[in-house]
């Protein structure tokens, strides 16, 4: 979609300082501008979670399909409304019955049959092209209440566990194997393509092919309980070589705490029994109930895209979990003093 040069620039920009909205969406907007009602839809060109702001093969095809259908719909609506106004307001006198009968046959039978046959023969083949297989990398995503357990599996069989964030190589087609823990969720990255439900007891499969690098947002689309609204995730699409490098890091053990505060935090982490639910690889913490925290400090967000990853926000999250996310399973550690929470935050922040 975009020029290669631009993609390269994006690829070398460090993640942390990459502006979230500087992706050029001129192509989508230009197409959009040609359409009626686009004045209102121009707003759609800003979001990181927008259907009409495609950054993947599938989303781009769908956006094009939509804009075509929208144009047709606007014309048809104007025709029907115009005809109605004409016969009720502008020309209220009797018109011949023959015209009326041919309107029923023409407008009700022939015209829609023709239009729908065209639309279906264009759109039905799109389905299989959106369901073609992946290029090798498989991302297992399991919907939990209310976060995402993410496991990367390379064709060589290497695995890396992460949570609440999906990173993908741009220009390659990645396969997602989707499952759910207790209730149904739906996995959706609007900028890249359509959604697929995650159903307990089943494994559903979808593939996505990011066309450019950038930072996007995905969100659960199937109502999944109290905090359904707070179940989102960050998506970063990366240049393939950077992705491979990142994946190697993601599979590695956690770095030891580097500062005094972080070491105190690590002590609190151990003392409070956080390891019963969370894994920090390379430490005794091996819990599987909650998100893997081995590299939590290097993620774009915590709490399923709820808060940024700073020591202060981590402390806030641990101390006020239930407040921030209604009905969440993690207990809220509000008995810890602010200083202790901050130390804990510093430890987690340091888990790059």
């Amino acid at each position: 979609m975009h020029g290669g040069a631009e993609r390269d620039v994006m690829a070398v920009m460090p993640v942390a300082c990459m502006p979230q909205t500087n992706r050029q969406t001129a192509a989508a907007c230009r197409r959009a501008a040609g359409c009626l009602a686009m004045l209102a839809l121009l707003g759609a060109c800003e979001g990181r979670q927008a259907v009409l702001n495609p950054a993947g093969q599938d989303a781009a095809v769908i956006a094009r399909l939509f804009l075509g259908m929208l144009t047709g719909a606007v014309i048809l609506w104007l025709l029907v409304a115009g005809l109605f106004l004409y016969v009720t307001v502008f020309r209220v006198s009797h018109m011949p019955r023959r015209w009326a009968e041919s309107l029923i046959v023409g407008g009700g039978v022939l015209f829609p049959t023709f239009v729908l046959a065209g639309l279906l023969s264009y759109s039905l083949p799109l389905m299989s092209s959106q369901r073609t297989g992946g290029d090798g990398l498989v991302v297992h995503v399991r919907g939990e209440q209310w976060w995402w357990r993410v496991t990367y599996e390379t064709p060589q069989g290497n695995r890396a566990v992460s949570a609440n964030e999906v990173r993908l190589p741009a220009g390659r087609r990645t396969e997602f194997r989707l499952t759910a823990d207790k209730v149904i969720h739906s996995f959706w990255i609007p900028a890249l393509g359509g959604k697929t439900d995650m159903i307990p007891g089943r494994e559903t499969v979808m593939t996505l092919e990011p066309a450019e690098t950038g930072l996007f947002r995905g969100q659960c689309a199937e109502f999944c309980g109290a905090s359904h609204a707070l179940m989102a995730f960050e998506v970063e699409t990366m240049a393939p070589d950077l992705f491979d490098e990142w994946l190697r890091h993601a599979a590695s053990d956690a770095v030891p705490p580097a500062t005094e505060a972080a070491r105190r935090g690590a002590g609190i982490f151990a003392a409070e029994g956080c390891g019963a639910c969370h894994t920090v690889r390379g430490t005794p913490a091996l819990g599987r109930v909650g998100p893997d925290l081995t590299h939590v400090g290097s993620r774009h967000s915590i709490g399923a895209a709820l808060l940024p990853v700073t020591a202060a926000d981590l402390a806030l999250w641990v101390g006020r979990t239930g407040h921030l996310k209604p009905d969440v399973e993690m207990p809220q550690y509000d008995h810890l003093l602010p200083d202790a929470l901050l130390d804990l935050g510093r430890y987690l922040e340091g888990l790059k």
Partner: protein, 855 residues
Amino acid sequence: MTASAPRAPRPEGPYPPTDEMLARPVPSDLQEAQADRLRAAWRTPQGWRYWSAVNNSEVGVWYTLTAFGFMLIAGLLALAMRVQLAVPQNGVLDADRFNQFFTMHGSAMMFLFAVPMFEAFSILILPAFLGARDMPFPRLSAYGYWCFLIGGTFVMGSLLFDAAPKAGWFMYPPLATRELGIGSDIWLLGLSFIEIASIAAAVELIVGVLKCRPPGMRVNIMPLYAWYVLVVGGMILFAFPPLIAGDFLFELQRSFDWPFFDPERGGDPLLWQHLFWIFGHPEVYIVFLPSIAIAAMIVPTVARRPVVGYSWIVLSAVGTGFLSFGLWVHHMFTTGLPTISLGFFSAASEAVVIPTGIQLFAFVATLMVGRVRMSLPMLWIAGALAIFVAGGLTGVMLAIVPFNWQVHDTYFIVAHLHYTLFGGMVFPVIGGVYYFYPFIAKRLLSERLGRIAFWLIFVGFNVTFFPMHIAGLEGMPRRVFTYPAASGWGLWNMISTLGAFVIAGGFAVFVYDLLRSMGRRGDIPRNPWQAGTLEWSHDIPEEAWGARSIPYVTTRYPLWDQEGIVARMDAGRYYLPDAETGARETLVTSVIDARPLHIQTVTGPTWITHLAAIFTGGAFIFPTFHLYAPAVVCAVLAVAAIIWWLWTATARPPEIPVRDAGLDLRLPTYASGVNAPGWWGMWITMLGDATAFASLVFGFFFYWTARPDFPPAGAEHAAPFWVAAAALAFGLSWAATLVARQSNRAGSRGRAMALLAAGFVLTVAGCGAALLSVLALDPAAHVYPAILWALAVWLCAHGGVGAIMQGYCIAGLVAGKLTPDYDADLCNVTLYWHFLALTALTACAVLGIAPRLLA
């Protein structure tokens, strides 16, 4: 199938009436005496006894107002949600309350407003369209209404206790099966209760259209509204049972932990989605078609021309009804189904555009050939058209699978569904209120306030819902109680919220107009819109008898095309101008060509329907709180109340077997078998019941196709001996009932009683054998024993009803209520038994044979 008894009297006398007969004057003193007797028979009870009324004009009004009240409450919930979503990260409603509100908004709009509103409105006006005095089973409408009021109040009331359902109106398991608290149980039991009332009303409406048309009104000239009632009634009959079957399984899981939707024990959450949407998609058309029906009455009136393309419209309505059952998977495009199924359902979903388009263009065509008068009701229809067409066009987009993958479960869907349902249902219904208000209340609503309400609601609607398309395309999912500021959705949500208040303002004006005119007595002409259909022949001021005499109808627009028809109706020149016996009567005619068949006595005011409704309510409401003993007591009392009501008021042998029905026609006063409305009621009810059972059987085979461990290896099966015994017992009991009917007709009362008694014993034995066959299996262990248990329980419940019916017939024979000539009850019971035998044999085959073949 079941012809009337051989010695039953037949209609005698001239039919159809000649012009000369119709021109004969009726002496004025006779006219007055007849009118007085009719007035006495149809008098509405006064004072507190008013609430014992069962007449369609009373029950219909209560029903309509109650449904409208529930709509206003559901609308207020929406307003509260809009306030919460007006700005990002708002704290007006917390997550829990928001989830209760959106669940109840959807559930109430669907189950407490849209469907009941159609039935209420139809109960109110259908008899008038047909020149009938009342619906065929007035007490059934009253019972349905009281069930609806109790159930609706119970479900809605849960909001006040912070205990309302909160898993969405679609109640997807495992979320809804795991949900703590009683919210989900309230949804399942409270709404099942209402669904049963809805089916009862649908049965009554279908029978009303088929059997209570005026003489001469062949099916091809009946008002289009009646056609839509037939189609929608049929859809309710086939769409609600799968949901009831689903509710049955769901509640068994919630109450007794039978794992139908639990994947860890072989269950499958997707079964619920299939059952729910097999109901849920026809539901959309159940909501939408009645509004088309209202438009089909308003449009010819404002065009002052008969509708163009009557046959096209009828065929399209029927076609929409059929097609709507083949679209449900388009609610499940994202569940990972194979591409081939998705393609099929995508094409089927698009195909429904064609019948819908035909109906819309037929109305435009009618307006074309007419000279349109843009009256207030027509303004609402015009608004409906503008909005609905937009919703239809987004619907065409949504049926395209890849696009659906993107916007499914986003605000784009919220916008689409409100464009179709608000535009396709609420606007025409309000138009219908303005149009029919002079018929119902004998007054006109204010033209000025009506236009203000229209523009407020029309503009408010578009301001509210148009931006939701954009919010959805920007990625905003549905059913979120909050959203981050960085999403950029704030602006669109703020606009939507402002629009919602404009809609609320419009409704306030509309409600004010309704209330304002309540106390006033208007002075309006009899047919203020100069319409052509029979309902506008009703007297002003209103008389409770409906039609003074039941006309002979030969045209689609009798008030336009049959000169002098109203004057003749008023004079009592037509059929049933009198109430000689003091009983309420209406005319029953044949299904296709509406030949008069007999005079049907219809039931009058009573309190038994209230008792029956209260106890039925108890039977559904107590299990919500896991109070099973009181529930069983209530169920027994409900059955007792219904038996008492049937025994005292239905199918009593007449004192005078043949009576003068007017115009020299002498008609029987009793019918059994195919001629009797009760037989049709039973037949139609059992079609619905068989559909629910078929849904359970579908569940069994769904597990088999969808789950590799069904039946699990080495699983214990149902005990073959007891399965065979159950099949044999039910088969013999069916044969005994069948032979009992013939023996009774042949005059052998004793043999009939003996056979029915034997049947009763066999039925009880069959139920016992069915339970014994699964007794050794643990239904909580795996879905396989659970579904076998569910089938056995279903069979036993139906066997229980079958045994009660056999007992009822024995009692009837003893008491002389059933005689060789008057055997309607026995005919209806035999019909029930045909279905029960089919149910029993199928259930036994699935219990005993299928697992061994499949394993």
